[in-house]
């Protein structure tokens, strides 16, 4: 690299991220959904999502009811953003727990090896052996139906993914000369892990967080659809889709808008994940 190049900042990847059209689109989609969730969480929804207006039941989209109403005359727009806020809360909490626990176990197991590593790997293999939605169903069934219970169930299902994503790169990085050289320099193990191993395994973890958020939203919707997540009368995107099933033939809006929200946020998070993967990987960067 030429000497004229200005000193690079660690924010280089931000620049590369915004060069990608799909990444920017994904970010816009996610930001729209996050904004709507915040509006709902602050009780700023146009109509109370729980308010029933039997007179207006099953009305199509209009100036008053942007997304129409359901069979109880509840506003589908308000319920959709309420459901989005609940889905995002569950996704953030579950992926937050899974990432913290999984990355911790994966880094410790990969770096130190031995019986601890064996235990971590075997335990995650056991969890991997079950289909995700089935395991989440079983856990929710035994925990309860609150959004925190749902989050814990999803967190347990996704923890092994983070263990794997963190452990693999740690196995490579710990053999690199730069880790050996800081050992020779007498740095403490926590310092080596935090300052020299973690920064070099972070990229795949960040990408995994974005992708897992979208899966967690799908899983939460799936659980609610099956009646094991959010309970009526609270709104949840999955539950709304489930309730709208028998109505879809004559009230398309009751099924369409909650499904659209799920699709938009999942597609958005996936595009963000792909964008981050490209931006954080120096090898992909140089080619593009």
């Amino acid at each position: 690299m030429s000497k004229e190049t200005k000193a690079a900042s660690s924010k280089d990847w931000v620049h590369y991220y915004f060069k990608s059209t799909s990444g920017v689109i994904g970010l816009i989609l996610v930001l729209i959904m996050v904004t709507l969730s915040i509006i709902s969480a602050l009780n700023l929804a146009p109509i109370d999502p729980l308010e029933q207006n039997p007179v207006d039941a099953l009305k199509g989209p209009s100036g008053t009811y942007w997304f129409g109403t359901d069979q109880f005359g509840r506003d589908i727009f308000s319920r959709s953003i309420d459901g989005m806020s609940r889905s995002l809360s569950v996704a953030l909490l579950s992926v937050g727990i899974a990432a913290l626990v999984g990355v911790f176990l994966g880094v410790i197991g990969g770096f130190f090896g031995g019986w601890l590593d064996g235990l971590v790997v075997r335990a995650s293999d056991v969890i991997f052996a079950f289909p995700a939605i089935l395991l989440a169903l079983a856990i929710v069934n035994s925990l309860g139906n609150s959004w925190i219970d749902t989050s814990i169930a999803i967190a347990i299902v996704y923890t092994p993914i983070f263990i794997r994503v963190a452990r693999g790169p740690v196995l490579t990085v710990k053999e690199m000369d730069y880790v050996k050289s800081v050992r020779v320099l007498g740095f403490s193990t926590p310092r080596i892990l935090i300052r020299h191993v973690m920064p070099n395994v972070l990229a795949p973890i960040v990408v995994q967080i974005a992708l897992s958020l979208s899966w967690a939203i799908l899983t939460e919707s799936g659980l609610s659809f099956l009646g094991l997540g959010t309970q009526p009368p609270d709104a949840s995107l999955g539950l709304m889709v489930s309730e709208a099933q028998p109505l879809a033939a004559f009230a398309w809006w009751s099924l369409f808008f909650p499904s659209l929200f799920i699709t938009v946020v999942v597609v958005g998070l996936n595009l963000v994940g792909d964008g981050l993967r490209d931006a954080l990987d120096p090898a992909r960067r140089s080619s593009g």
Binding site: S181, R183, V184, G186, R195, P199, N200
Partner: protein, 316 residues
């Protein structure tokens, strides 16, 4: 102060093959403070293992390593900071020896801060001083390793090692990965630094022509043993061990060394270190081997007071 390596053995057990690889088989060497010991040999002869033992990345299976009486390398295991800074290692590949997510200034500053070698407000001045010592401009301290050339990176790696204020620097093929055009610069830098800071060097290489530029003494290793040891002038001008002769003959400008009356001396492959031949490890490739060579492992014996050879045939 002296580095004393006594009867050091290092075995690695390979579980999948149920065998034991003998990386080092009883190596004894001494290096006086301020001297440079060059260690040469083919890949797999144990020279890098020896480097890792000296800096404490690994522990010997048997034997001991001492620096002026105190055991070396224990610090890494016991967390004794004071021992650390005494021996430092410069790796062969400067592309993998620097943390890609850390600026070169931060990388050197971290060493000084971790060991509290300077007051907080003098750390930056020390970083600039160390960079200038190795010939890196001050304004480059905010660069990341990928913005530097191989030669610049190796200079940074050397500066980082110097930041720990070592007595002994182990240089594990420090110029082999560099472009030929910058090798001489880095070699000259190493010679300057040694005089400036009164350092002791262990210079490891597979290339005799690099070793002779910098070494006071040379140890020639073959399959985990020292086969010849002495001052560089003596070893290079009158090599005794057939393996040393072969190595010297492989340097282009040394194609005709007096006393070598055979050509293409090195035939065959280096034996598997997990399955060493009986007797002298070199006997299967040696042009002057006699049946006795396959019986007994030859000891390193004095030819003169400062020239040792592990070959009974040439001592006769």
């Amino acid at each position: 102060m002296t580095l004393t390596i006594r009867d050091v053995t290092k075995k690695y057990s390979i579980k999948s093959r149920k065998t034991v690889v003998n990386a080092l088989n009883g190596v004894s060497l001494t290096v006086e403070k301020g001297k440079t010991l060059g260690i040469v040999g083919e890949s797999g002869c144990g020279k890098s293992t020896l480097a890792r033992l000296i800096v404490g990345l690994e522990q010997p299976t048997e034997g001991s390593l001492n620096w002026s009486g105190a055991p070396l390398g224990q610090g890494v295991r016991n967390g004794l900071r004071s021992h650390h800074t005494k021996t430092q290692l410069v790796f062969q590949d400067p592309y993998s020896s620097l943390n890609p997510r850390q600026t070169i200034g931060a990388c050197i500053a971290e060493v000084i801060k971790t060991h509290k070698l300077r007051a907080e407000d003098q750390v930056n001045a020390r970083v600039i001083e160390l960079l200038s010592v190795v010939g890196i401009a001050e304004d480059m301290q905010n660069r990341f390793p990928h913005q530097l050339s191989g030669g610049q990176r190796q200079r940074v790696a050397i500066a980082r090692a110097l930041a720990a204020e070592p007595d002994l620097l182990v240089l594990d093929e420090p110029v082999s990965a560099l472009d030929v055009s910058v090798r001489a610069d880095v070699m000259n830098l190493l010679v300057d630094l040694k005089n400036q800071f009164n350092l002791t060097y262990i210079f490891i290489s597979h290339d005799l022509s690099m070793v002779r530029h910098i070494s006071d003494d040379i140890a020639v290793m073959y399959l985990g043993r020292v086969v010849e040891y002495g001052s560089w002038s003596e070893v290079l001008s009158s090599p005794k061990h057939p393996y040393t002769k072969a190595l010297i003959q492989s340097i282009p400008e040394h194609t005709t060394v007096r006393g070598i009356d055979f050509e293409n001396v090195l035939e065959g492959e280096v034996p598997d270190p997990a399955n060493l031949p009986k007797g002298c490890a070199f006997n299967q490739r040696c042009p002057i081997a006699v049946p006795a060579c396959a019986e007994k492992v030859p000891e390193l014996l004095e030819l003169t007071s400062h020239h040792l050879v592990a070959c009974p045939e040439v001592l006769k």
